[in-house]
Each structure stands twice: as C-alpha cells, then as structure tokens.
C-alpha cells in the first residue's frame, strides 16, 4: 500500500542542510497497524506528514497503491485527503467555531455527500462513540479525551483507507489515552490501516509493527503480537 524508497528530507539553515530524514525506506501493507517510535526531534512527525502528503521529501520515491505520490498534483492530493487518508492530531485540532456534530460532518461536505446521507453517517458516528448528548457542544466545552474522540470520529467518517495519528494520546491522561487506543485498535480490527506516532511502549503494543526512528534513520522494524 505504502512504499517509501530512499526518502530524504532536510531544511536549509543558512548554507547548511539540517537533515531530518536520511535515506528512509519503508513498506506498509494494507491492514497493518504501525507504531513509529523514537526520541523527540527524530523526524517522526515529518515522516508521518510525508506519508500523509502534507509534506514532500527532498528526494526519494513514494508510491501509494503503486501510484507515484511525488508526481501528484495539488488537486490529486486533495482528492486523496478527501477519500483515502484521515488524520488525528496530538492537539486535536478541532475547528473552534463548529459544534461536535459539524466538526464530524465537515469532511463529508468536502466529499460532496448528500444531506440525508450526511445526517445518517454523522448520527451513526455519534452513536458509535457515545457522543449523541454532546453533539451540539463546541470543542472548548469538552474534555481533552472527548475532543480527541471527536477528532477520531472526524478522521474516519469519510471511510479512509489509511489513518494517521501523530501522538494521539500525547495530551491525555492514561485512562483517556487507553480509551483512544481501544478505538484505534477496534478500527484496525475492522480492517483499517493505521500509522501512529507514540512515545509510549504501552501504546505501541496495540499495533502490529514497531518502527524505531533515530536521527532520521530507521533503526529497527519489529513485528509484534
């Protein structure tokens, strides 16, 4: 599904190049649940952003379902964001002006899903995550854990093939974190491909594989479970 070959990413700092990713190659099959681990500043988020097509590598090739991402137009990327990729962020990143219901609904608007179908899908999602009573609240009226639940709901309502989560539990207490991890685990069992960035050994064990990134290199990649 995802095939990264010799990916390099650096930032220019004056005349020097500050390397973030050096020669990263990685293959991920459909149905995997990969946890990327590593120290702070190792380039985990950068890697995830590249996989999520929010950022581009300076060199290397990236194939998504055997199509060359590095040759995609802006339009094509937007198309993929609408239909194939969902994001969950550490800081939740809900839209402040929208209610829980509307936040979850937004991706469907961009997918041009009809009104009644939208209603059904959002209702389903609210039901599944036990948020029906909270659907008219605004993000600031929710706890962090609840906001992240909305974040996950919003990420998956468009039925993406790939879910990318950058430290989804980083801002949460353990118990709230566990709840989110259970959610991801359930999604994985339903067949979704998931890549998460995490600092926690405990959370990484929900996945099927752990990729350890140090100083822009993949140090090891081990199958678990």
């Amino acid at each position: 599904m995802i095939s990264l070959t010799n990916i390099e990413r650096y930032y220019r700092q004056g005349l020097q190049k500050a390397w973030v990713l050096k020669d990263v190659s990685l293959n991920i099959e459909e149905g995997e649940f990969v946890s990327i681990m590593g120290p702070s500043g190792a380039g985990k988020s950068t890697l995830l952003n590249i996989v999520g097509m929010l950022d581009s590598p300076n060199s290397g090739e990236y194939h998504f379902f055997d199509e060359p991402v590095h040759k995609f137009s802006e339009k094509k990327r937007t198309e993929l964001h609408r239909n194939y990729i969902g994001f969950v962020f550490q800081a939740y990143h809900l839209i402040d002006d929208l209610t829980v219901y509307e936040n979850i609904e937004t991706p469907l608007l961009y997918k041009r899903v009809g009104r009644s179908e939208r209603k059904a899908l959002v209702a389903n999602m609210l039901d599944r995550f036990n948020m029906v009573a909270k659907k008219d609240l605004f993000p600031h009226q929710l706890s962090g854990g609840q906001q992240q639940v909305v974040g996950v709901a919003r990420a998956i309502i468009g039925k993406p093939k790939l879910l990318l989560a950058d430290e989804p539990t980083g801002n949460l207490h353990t118990s709230q974190g566990d709840e989110i991890m259970e959610l991801l685990s359930d999604l994985h069992k339903e067949g979704m491909t998931i890549i998460q960035v995490t600092h926690s050994e405990r959370n990484s064990e929900y996945g099927t594989r752990i990729v350890e990134l140090v100083d822009g290199f993949i140090r090891k990649s081990i199958e678990v479970g």
């Binding site: 800081a91 990143h93 402040d96």
Partner: protein
C-alpha cells in the same frame, strides 16, 4: 456547501464581535458617504440628459478676444443662428433663447399683481429642441406670434387656478401696453437642466431681433446638427462666417475694418458646447443659471472613493492581522480535503456578508441623513431617490465590490497556509501580510493627510474671499429692486424722503449691483486706434459715497456739476487705456444709448478714477469698468435699483418705514429688497458647498482611518501582551511601553505625510487656479496637517497602548 459557508461566516462574525463591529461600522460609514455623494454626483452629471435629441444639440459660445484679455460668453449676436442654419448643410435648425437677468416684470391678471423674474423668449421651434412636454396648446403655433406666452404648469396653477389658461390675457402694467396671451402650458422645467424659466414668450415679441446683428451679444443660440455631423469640423468653419457677416458692422461700430480690428488684438471665436455638458463644463459669462463644476464633481467623487477605500483597507488590515488566529483552521480544513479555492471562497463569503450588512445599514443611514445632506448641498433629494433601481443597484454593487476587493487579499493570503506549517504542535504566530499592512496604513494616512490639507486650504481660501477688501463696504447695504417704474422726478423725491428716515445714512441709484451682471461696453479715445472694452455701470450722484468706494484721482459725480457728459473709470481701465493723466481725457463710445439718434458721437470726459473694486466674485480679475451718470442713461435719470446705506444699528422698523414709503410711490410694484452682503455671499455658494462637504467627509474619512488604526493597535498590543509583561518585570516604565508600541505606527503615519504632502500641494494648486485672487500655499499648512495627523494617530494608538502597558504583568505571563 454555501449554507455551510454562511453558517461559519456568521459564527465567526459573532465570535469576534468587536472586530466585526469595527469592520461593519467603518464600511457602513464609508458606503453611506459614498452613496450620498453618488446621489449628488449622479444628479450633477445628469443635467439635461432628458432631452431626446440632446446628443445632436449644441450651444454656440463666444470667445471674445480683447487686447490683453479674453472673455467667454454664453450669448452671441442674435443673427448668427439663422446664418449658421442657412450656411451649413449639417445644421438642421437653430433656436434662440433670450433672457435678461435682474429684469423683473410686474404682471397683472384681473386685479392681481405678480412679480415675475424668470421670463424667457424663445424661437418657435423651442419644443423641437428641448424635451419639456407641452401640456396644453398647439406646438406648431404656440410661439409664432408676438406676445404669445407659455406658462409652466405651476405658474399656470398660481395665476389661473384650475381654469384652463389658454387664450387668457396677462397685462403688463409697466410695459408698452402689450397684453400677453397665454398660448400654451408646459411642464415645469426640471431642476436638473441648465434652462430655467417660468414663462416662455415668443421671440417674435422682441422687435429688435428683426434687425440684423453680428456684433452685440444677446441670444443663447442652439444648433441642431444632423446625426453624422462633426462638430469640430463645423466649428472650424465659423471664422469665415464671422468675416462674411461681421465685417460691415465692425466698420460702422469700431471705425475700422474687421481686419484692422483683429490685428489690434481683437477677435471673435465661436465654438460649440454639447447640450449635456453645458451645466458642468461651461462657466461662461451670462449663463442662465449658476453653472455646476466638473472639477467639484470630480473632487467629491474622489472623496467618495477614498472614504470607501479607507474602510476597505481597515477590513483588509484587520483580516490579515488576525490571520494567525485562523491559520490553524485553514490547516485543518486542508487535511480534511478542502481545496484552496473552497477556503478562499469561505473567506470571501465572510467579507461579502460583512459588506452587505454594512450596505443595509448604510441605506438606513442615508434615509436618516437625507435631510441634512440636502441642507449641506442645497439639493432637494426625496426619499424616493433612495428606492430607485439605480440607487439600489449601485449600493448593492458597491457593497459587494467592496467586500470582494477587500476580502480577496486576505482570502488569498489565508488560504495559502500549508497544514505542515500551521499544525506543528502549537501554531506559531505569522508575520504574513505585515508588509502590505504597513503599506496600507501608510496609504490610509496619506489619504487622511491629503484630505486635511485640502480642507484647510479650502477653508483658508474661503476666509480669504470673505475678508478680502472688495473696494466697497458690503455691510448694511440694502438694495431695493424694481424702482424702474418711477420717473426721474419721482425717483428724486423718493430718494430724498428715504434719506430723511432715521437709520438711513445714504441713498443712491444704480442699474445693477456688484455680483450681478454688468452690461458690456467700450470706449475709444478720439484718434486712438484701439477701443477699450469693459463693463458699464449706471449710477446716480452719491453712489460712490453710499457704497464707500474710493476715488483715487479727480472727483465723483455730484449734483453741483452738470455731469451728463462725465464718466468715471476704474484703475483697470486707466491701465488698459494706457492713460498717464486720465483726468480730463476725452473719449467716445459706439454704444447707442450714449449717443444721439442722429449726428456725431458725443464726447465724454473722464472726471475721476475709482479704486478697483470687485464687481464680480474673486474668481474673476477686475476688468475695465466705466461708470456713467444716470442722467445719461437710457432711462434718463431713472434708477433700476435704489441702494441705501443703513446704520449698523438699523432695525426691521427702518425697513418697514422704507416699505411704507415704497408703497406710496410704487403701489403697483411689490416691495423687494435684499442685503448686499447676503447677495454677495450667494456668489460663493458653490465654494461654500465644497467647503462644507469636503470638511465633513474628510472628517469622516479620518475617523474611519482611526477606527482601523485603533483596531490594529489593539491587535498589536494583544499579540505583544507577553512581551509587555516581560519588559515590565524587567523594569520598563509605562511611557517606555507606550513608546515601544506607538513608534512603529507613528513611523507609518509620518511616511504617509511625506508622500501625501506633495500630492496635496499639486492638486490644491490646481484648485486654486480657478480663483483670480487666491491665497499662497505655505509650508505652515503642511506642518499643521502633519501635526494634526500625528496627534490623531498618536492619541488613537496610545489609547490602546496605555491599556496594554497598565495591565498587571503577572496576569499576562500566567496566561501563556
């Protein structure tokens, strides 16, 4: 999707309430001013646009060249119209109008007397030319016979009530016993026409029109050209026509051939003015109505656009300044699959919602302020003018255009945010648009300074015109109009009795007052080959003293002398005639009324020189003036107008006594009086409107600019809360902080001043060129404008800075 855009826009407006209010307030004020000014401009530009054949009709104007100066007349010799019609194939028809200003006529209907000022005489094809509907009467015969008159609807109503006036008789008690017959009723002449009359009489009623005249100017002459005629090509042929027709009369009038006369620096150049441009573009002598001014219309238009521009800039500045706050939202939406266009659309929808709300409020504001605006401009707009399709279309168009124009940059800037940049952990603050924002603040304050400078200059010029010594004392002078019905003897005793009234200082007679039209005339020294043309004024003994004019040489008219062959001239005439020793110089004039019907021309002697006084507004240079004694006037000692100087303490009872006296002498003529100073102020009505409008709208423009600056300052202070806190903990004083926050803004304001000053200098120098007598533009004015602008900006900014500087640092630091 659109619904969604609206919903989000609405929420955003509510959530950022103060921001929305500032934007909407600014745009409302901007749009309201814009629309009011546009009402005014449309009205001014629309003059005479209602004539169906307007694009084929031209008026013939005359550029009269005299040695050393040139004057432009709206009236031309009355025989040219027919000559042009005959001579040129492209001229389909010619129509003449005649109007004699200050020539009130008393009309009698039954026993009732009416005083009528606006009587015009027209050729019989008037209604073919001008689309003023003839409501009653036969268009083919209503202006063909002598003494036919057409009344306007409201005059007909006033004179005859609901009775059909056709065929009714109107008597003219003071005339040559010619009764007038009503032959038609036409609609009232629209206000937005350069024409103005209440009664239209047939040109056949004026016998002098039967005599050929190619020299003396009297008739407004309009030509109807065929639709493919080239007016410029036609104009070029007029010179030959002048030679063909004016040569003979010139020889008789000036005692020399037309060629010699032209070689001596004289000339007649006839030109064409498109009908629709007459009101705005033509400012000739003897216009029917005070003309408008294209320059003023453009100036107002400029102010209108600048005001809206300033409001739009506020919008852009606040939107980009706040962009950091919305960057995250943009990033999220992009990861959810939104395209850049969708995001830009979202912001544009927000902008248009704001500007449309402002448009609706502006409409309400126009409704509330229409009366005041009418007072300000002297127009009379009805509420219905706020409902016309044109108005509403313009308002909606202006609102949407402002919204789009001011929203497009922020939309473009905000939608360009990359998710990776703005979603990294906590969002970083961005300096996006800061450069543009600064440039726009410079621009705004440049405009403000420009407006301040022009307002000061307009005001100064106004004060100058009001205070400039006119060469006579216009205070406490009263003119009684319509004294022409008295015989010379009656007038003498009437004046003597007036003089005895308490509160009356002096009484004299004249044919016209400063500010009104003086007739044109010329004199020539016997033997000289150049006659000097100027204006003429007929006055009685004591007029010079009564007006407090100054005699610089010689003496003024006096009953102690037989002055019927004496004249006074002004200093301008002395220099134009090149007289070293004017007193005692003898001159002759071709003017008919100064000479016997048969025999040689009479010789006049200059007995005194009057200090130049302004008999026209300060737009005009003082030109040669000849003052002739009323014993030598066509009225033989009769005064058209009686001028009285009252004591400054004179009261209405003095006027009441004068009225009583008047009614005893002239029971048939209504008592009409006017104060000289008020009439004189009328000459500057245009400037007064310009001054009022420009100062008011400049003030509004500056206020809107300040509103924007206030918001920007608040925004900067908010963004720097933490920095301010840290600095205070480190020991910064409140003035330090205010200085830090204000410095950047003041820099921008000063750049604005530097850029705007030369522009203002150039524009206002152009404006002042319109005045023959004008103030100098001094550097002090720019300094004053700069001080005002800086003071305003500093007050605005420091208001916010002070709040930020006074805040407790512990609070602001804990918030992080």
């Amino acid at each position: 999707m659109l619904r969604n855009y609206f919903k989000i826009a609405w929420r955003n407006l509510l959530r950022n309430r103060s921001y929305s209010i500032i934007n909407i307030l600014g745009l409302t004020a901007g749009l309201a001013c814009f629309m009011l000014i546009m009402l005014y401009v449309q009205d001014e530009v629309g003059y005479d646009s209602f004539h169906e054949k307007g694009d084929q009709i031209y008026r013939v104007g005359l550029e009269r060249i005299y040695p050393g100066r040139t004057r432009h007349y709206a009236i031309i010799p009355h025989s040219y119209g027919a000559a042009m019609d005959e001579e040129y194939a492209e001229v389909e028809a010619a129509c003449r109008l005649l109007y004699f200003p200050n020539n009130n006529t008393t009309l009698q209907i039954g026993e009732q007397l009416y005083e009528e000022e606006y009587i015009m005489w027209a050729d019989s094809n008037f209604f073919d030319f001008f689309s003023i509907p003839l409501l009653l009467g036969d268009p083919s015969t209503c202006l063909t016979e002598p003494n036919q008159v057409i009344l306007t609807e409201s005059i007909a109503k006033r004179y005859f009530g609901d009775v059909n006036p056709i065929g009714k008789t109107i008597r003219v008690p003071q005339g040559q016993n010619n009764d007038l017959t009503v032959s038609g009723v036409c609609a009232d002449v629209p206000v937005n026409s350069h024409l103005k009359f209440n009664i239209l009489s047939s040109s056949a009623s004026l016998p002098f029109l039967n005599q050929s005249n190619f020299i003396g100017f009297s008739a407004y002459t309009y030509l109807m050209l065929n639709s493919n005629a080239d007016p410029l090509a036609l104009e070029a042929k007029f010179d030959d026509l002048v030679i063909k027709h004016a040569s003979g009369p010139a020889l008789r009038q000036f005692g020399m051939s037309l060629e010699e006369y032209m070689e001596a620096g004289n000339g007649y150049r006839y030109f064409l003015q498109p009908l629709e441009g007459i009101y705005l573009d033509s400012n000739l002598e003897s216009e029917i109505k005070p003309p408008g001014s294209r320059q003023r219309v453009n100036f107002f238009l400029l102010i209108a656009i600048l005001i809206i521009g300033i409001a739009a800039i506020n919008f852009m500045n606040l939107a980009t300044a706040r962009s950091a706050g919305r960057a995250r939202e943009v990033g999220i939406r992009k990861t959810l699959g939104s395209t850049r266009n969708q995001i830009a659309t979202q912001f544009l929808v927000e902008a248009v919602i704001i500007s449309l709300s402002a448009g609706i409020l502006a409409w309400g504001l126009n409704y509330l302020l229409l009366d005041q605006f009418n007072q300000l401009t002297g127009k009379s707009f009805e509420y219905s003018s706020l409902m016309t399709g044109k108005y509403i279309l313009l308002l909606v168009g202006a609102a949407v255009a402002t919204g789009l124009l001011s929203g497009i940059y922020p939309a473009f800037a905000l939608s360009s945010f990359k998710p990776v940049q703005v979603l990294r952990g906590k969002f970083m603050s961005t300096s996006k648009g800061a450069g543009l924002r600064n440039a726009l603040v410079v621009f705004q304050f440049g405009i403000s300074v420009f407006l301040i400078i022009s307002t000061i200059l307009i005001h100064r010029q106004w004060v100058f015109t009001q205070n400039k010594s006119l060469g006579f004392d216009k205070e406490s002078l009263v003119n009684l109009q319509g004294a022409g019905g008295l015989t010379a003897q009656q007038a003498e005793t009437f004046k003597k009795q007036l003089r005895e009234l308490p509160g009356v200082i002096a009484v004299s007679g004249c044919n016209s007052q400063p500010g009104d039209q003086y007739f044109g005339m010329s004199f020539i020294r016997p033997g000289a080959n150049e006659s000097t043309t100027g204006s003429g004024l007929i006055i009685s003994d004591e007029y010079i003293e009564c007006m407090k004019m100054e005699i610089v040489e010689g003496r003024s008219f006096s009953e102690k002398f037989q002055d019927s062959l004496s004249i006074l001239i002004n200093e301008a005439a002395v220099s134009e005639m090149g007289l070293d020793n004017p007193i005692g110089t003898t001159v002759v004039s071709p003017a008919q009324f100064l000479n016997p019907a048969e025999g040689d021309q009479l010789v006049y002697t200059i007995i005194g020189v009057v200090r130049d006084f302004h008999f026209q507004s300060l737009h005009h240079v003082i030109s040669p003036l000849f003052l002739i004694h009323n014993r030598r006037s066509f009225n033989n000692g009769v005064d058209n107008m009686i001028t009285l100087r009252l004591e400054a303490s004179a009261t209405t009872s003095t006027l009441a006594q004068i009225e009583t006296m008047w009614n005893r002498y002239q029971p048939d003529t209504p008592f009409r009086y006017a104060f000289m100073d008020q009439d004189w102020a009328q000459l500057y009505e245009k400037e007064m409107t310009t001054r009022r409008v420009s100062s008011l709208f400049s003030l509004i423009a500056i206020l809107i600019a300040c509103l924007g600056l206030l918001a920007l300052a608040a925004f900067t202070a908010e963004r720097k809360t933490k920095e301010i806190g840290i600095r205070k903990v480190l020991g910064a004083t409140i003035p330090n902080i205010i200085g830090m926050l204000s410095k950047d803004f003041l820099k921008l304001v000063i750049i604005g001043i530097v850029i705007a000053s030369p522009v203002a200098w150039w524009v206002m120098d152009q404006w002042l060129q319109d005045f023959a007598y004008r103030i100098e533009i001094s550097w002090g004015i720019f300094a004053l404008a700069a001080v005002i602008a800086i003071a305003i900006a500093f007050t605005t900014v420091s208001f916010q800075s002070l709040r930020a500087a006074m805040a407790n640092p512990i609070q602001s630091l804990r918030a992080e």
